[in-house]
């Protein structure tokens, strides 16, 4: 489904964020990417949604080279990927409902679909009572759940979560991981980055370990070795 072909990323200050990274993600896999801060996890995620371009190599989504897509094709690709960020990236002047509805509007869903699906997905992440709250009225864990709801509401093929538990306490971390596991069980591919050993232990599954921009391990069954 996703294929990294010798992808390197060198920033203008000459630092190498990714160094000839190659791996494949199959449909319906749950892949955890682990590594210290600065290992290249976030850069790698940005490559998939074309938020950043590789200096060398190519990233393929199915058969399409992600970085050679036109604007329209790029928008279509991004609509098939739900993204969750460590800093939530909710739109500050929109309520929880509106943050999620916006993602549905962007993919062309009808008003009636939005009215029925948004409350439903907020119930799924246990935020049915915070539907009209603005982000500043929510806790960190609640914000992240809204972000997850926004990512899954369009029923994407892949969920990408970059350090989704990085700003959360252990209780909220566990709850968020359980939500991702639920999503995965429904058949969605999940790619998640973390540097938290408890997260890796909880998830199990495939673990890719990165260090200084390189993939140093790729284990089929969850191991946190750093």
């Amino acid at each position: 489904m996703i294929y990294f072909d010798k992808v390197s990323k060198i920033y203008p200050d000459e630092s190498m964020a990714l160094d000839k990274v190659s791996f494949t993600v199959e449909p319906a896999e749950f892949v955890t990417i682990v590594g210290h801060s600065g290992a290249g996890k976030t850069t790698l995620m940005k490559m998939i949604i074309a938020e950043d371009k590789p200096t060398y190599g190519s990233v393929f989504f199915e058969s399409a080279n992600v970085h050679k897509l036109g604007k329209g094709q790029m928008n279509k690709l991004r609509r098939r990927i739900g993204t969750v960020f460590q800093d939530f990236r909710l739109i500050a002047n929109k309520t929880a409902y509106e943050n999620i509805a916006f993602a549905m509007e962007a993919v062309g869903r009808t008003d009636s679909e939005i009215k029925s699906d948004v409350p439903h997905v907020l119930e799924l992440v246990d935020l049915g009572n915070k539907i009209w709250n603005f982000p500043h009225e929510l806790s960190g864990g609640e914000k992240q759940r809204v972000a997850i709801a926004r990512a899954i509401v369009t029923q994407p093929d892949i969920i990408m979560a970059d350090e989704p538990t990085g700003n959360l306490d252990p209780v909220n971390t566990l709850e968020i991981i359980k939500i991702f596991q639920k999503i995965h069980k429904l058949g969605t591919t999940v790619i998640l980055t973390t540097h938290d050993k408890s997260v890796v232990d909880e998830i199990g599954g495939r673990v890719i370990t990165m260090e200084k921009g390189k993939v140093i391990r790729d284990d089929k069954h969850g191991k946190y070795v750093l």
């Binding site: 991004r78 500050a92 962007a106």
Partner: protein, 316 residues
């Protein structure tokens, strides 16, 4: 498609109200810029009124010899009226000139007595000529000098007062185009400065929304869908600024006449009629045009600034 645009417009309205302070700041800055536009419009109207009044004061009088036949004067008048640079020709007969003089000095016994002692009408017939532009008087005077003879060959023109007015006419001919040119340059500079200030203000507002724009891009929203609400909000800044500016200009127009009289130290309105109600009458007579210019400029300025400011954040 209808739903698509309905959503863009609705989001634009919501963003405008929710970003209350930023919207307020933008409205104030655009209002100030539009007020500069308005001041330029009024300044230009005032300048035009002044120039028109001064132009109207300038003319050429052709004084005929006392024994000139009216038929010769009418013939010359017809020739003058046919000149393309002539705006108006007015004939004042000898009798009319005498009547006007008597009316003017009827309370001055000494002058009236002097007139009686002369016995006959001492006033010559006059043709009062107004040109379309002050610079055209020299040509008209030259033309008249070549027409100084009746059908029987005698001189009919006693004098032409062009030479007495030549200095002021020449100066006006030079000053008016210079004033108009300088005014246009200053107006263009003010407009450029106003546009730059508005653009930078809107750019700062959009800067605060750059994360929001990047999130929109990452969920796959199209550029039009992201940009649309910002453009709508920008147009709303323009609408509210336009309304505020029209209120300010209206208030200025109606209170300025009294202020001008006060500052100019004019006691009686009739002493300087050119300055009477110049702004208020201009505002009322041209309200439609002023409304269009101010509202149109506001909406275009707000919308285009927003459109351009969003552009740089769409490259995600």
């Amino acid at each position: 498609m209808f739903t698509y645009f309905k959503r863009i417009i609705r989001t634009g309205f919501i963003n405008f109200w929710r970003n209350g302070f930023l919207s307020f700041s933008a409205v104030i800055v655009i209002t100030l810029s539009l007020t500069v536009f308005g001041a330029l419009i009024f300044g230009s109207a005032f300048g035009r009124a002044l120039i028109k009044a001064v132009k109207n004061k300038v003319d050429i009088n052709v004084y005929f010899t006392l024994d000139t036949q009216e038929s010769d004067i009418f013939s010359l008048r017809k020739t003058i009226e046919a000149l393309p640079e002539v705006l108006k020709v007015e004939y004042i007969s000898r009798d009319q000139a005498l009547t006007d003089f008597k009316t003017k000095w009827q309370d001055n016994a000494l002058i009236m007595q002097g007139l009686d002692e002369i016995g006959s009408n001492p006033f010559p017939a006059v043709l009062n000529i107004k040109a379309k532009e002050p610079s055209q008087y020299a040509g008209i005077a030259t033309f008249l000098n070549g027409k100084n003879s009746s059908q029987n060959g005698t001189d009919i023109i006693d004098k032409i007062n062009y030479n007495q007015n030549k200095l002021i006419i020449d100066r006006l001919g030079r000053i008016i185009p210079a004033v108009e040119k300088t005014g246009s340059i200053i107006a263009i500079l003010f407009v450029i400065v106003a546009i730059v200030i508005v653009f930078n203000t809107v750019r700062l507002i959009i800067f605060t929304a750059k994360d929001e724009i990047s999130v929109m891009k990452l969920v796959g929203a199209s550029n039009i869908y992201i940009r649309g609400p910002f453009v709508i909000s920008g147009a709303m800044y323009g609408i509210f600024s336009g309304i505020l500016t029209l209120i300010i200009l209206g208030a200025f127009a109606f209170y300025s006449d009294a202020m001008i009289m006060k500052f100019a130290g004019i006691q009686n309105v009739n002493d300087f009629p050119i300055l009477t109600n110049v702004f208020s009458s201009y505002f009322l007579q041209n309200f439609g045009q002023i409304f269009g210019i101010i509202m149109g400029s506001g909406i275009i300025l707000g919308a285009i600034s927003s459109y351009m400011a969003v552009k740089r954040y769409l490259r995600v």
